[in-house]
Symmetry: C2
DNA sequence: ACAAAAGTATGCAGTCACTGCAAGAATCTC
DNA sequence: GAGATTCTTGCAGTGACTGCATACTTTTGT
């Protein structure tokens, strides 16, 4: 019951931050305005987000990546690359569910250097989490064996490339693009002619 | 004459920031203290660095990645992956030349989340630069074609995995590890058994 | 149903990063 | 050495963020 109220105000703050930042620019909006737009006090804002940027990016305090959760659920026999494909698909599902939210997020990110920092830090964080899980699946240590970091990094690169490609090409199916990218990773990279529209 | 004085105070501020941060912790040192230790006024500090973190990292305003410069110099016929291998090797050369410096940097980075942000932002930045160059070499647009982002992201993943692996294994040759990782990228990823010591 | 307990929201006061402005000091040009 | 240029500095202000104390709301035990 309490949980639901918290989720509600969390989302309200996040959306308010996004709205105001899109309308007037990131540096032109204050935490007080965000709090007021969400219907809470200025002090409460900082009970939900440690920083203004965090509210804009939508960073949750616990910050367990949904991709990590999905990756955990993939059956054991699956190959690392295929398992990561499933995890990436999960994020893509989120992506096509509310493209407007993502479009605004991306708009803000490209316009503001500080936010870009935060976002890439978050990517780095989930990458670490995924590497740990992949290492577990393979029964090795992610510090002892470079393979988990490598395959996760490559998979995330595929995901980033897909999302980036989907921006100027909204008519394409992002799952197809992602599949193509993963096929390329599986087959070997130096064949650029097989790729693109 | 003026140039030399500027370089001098720049370095003085950077060293003072580093010293104080190492001694008392990043959040326990103020910009005023840094400025005082460097022998300039508090206001002057912000004439040299836009932010406290920038002074700690020693970020110069222009910040063109050395990897991008190396990548530019690689002859045209080389495949994207091979060209990126050369660029990554360049950074590895830096790495084995002064491992102590890198160790300290890494120490500060892992201890402080804010600095980690800045560092990963810089990584993201060079990744973008490299993607642009690769796109130029292939004669395509890095926004229209996902391949450049993909191959650059995979290459950077290989580099990160290599550096990460070299931490607990200083006796190994990082160039060998990097070569193995790139071979894996070229041949296709889902063969983890070929990898490791 | 009521009171205690636990969790949450808010206001207040303060620190510090960071900025624009305008005046003073150093450096360069002629 | 006078004047233009550039750098430094102090001042005053905004806004992010924190700790603390207080009031409110939801949950729990009886």
């Amino acid at each position: 019951m309490r949980e639901r109220k918290k989720q509600q105000t969390w989302l309200a703050l996040h959306r308010a931050a996004l709205d105001l930042a899109c309308a007037h620019g990131v540096n032109e909006v204050t935490t007080e305005q965000i709090a007021a737009a969400a219907g809470v006090s200025a002090r409460t804002f900082f009970n939900y987000f440690p920083t203004k940027e965090a509210a804009l990016v939508g960073l949750r305090p616990d910050a367990i990546s949904p991709m990590a959760a999905v990756l955990h659920a993939v059956p054991d026999g699956t190959s690392p690359l295929e398992a990561l494909y499933v995890a990436c698909s999960e994020l893509l599902t989120d992506f096509i569910e509310d493209p407007e939210l993502w479009r605004r997020r991306r708009e803000l990110l490209t316009a503001n250097a500080g936010l870009l920092r935060l976002a890439s830090a978050r990517n780095h964080n989930t990458e670490q989490q995924l590497a740990v899980i992949i290492a577990e699946r393979l029964g090795c240590d992610e510090n002892e064996d470079p393979y988990p970091s490598l395959v996760v990094g490559a998979a995330m690169a595929a995901l980033r490339a897909t999302i980036r490609f989907h921006g100027p090409h909204p008519e394409t199916d992002p799952f197809d693009t992602l599949r193509e990218a993963f096929d390329l990773l599986a087959a070997g990279l130096p064949a650029p002619d097989r790729f693109g529209e």
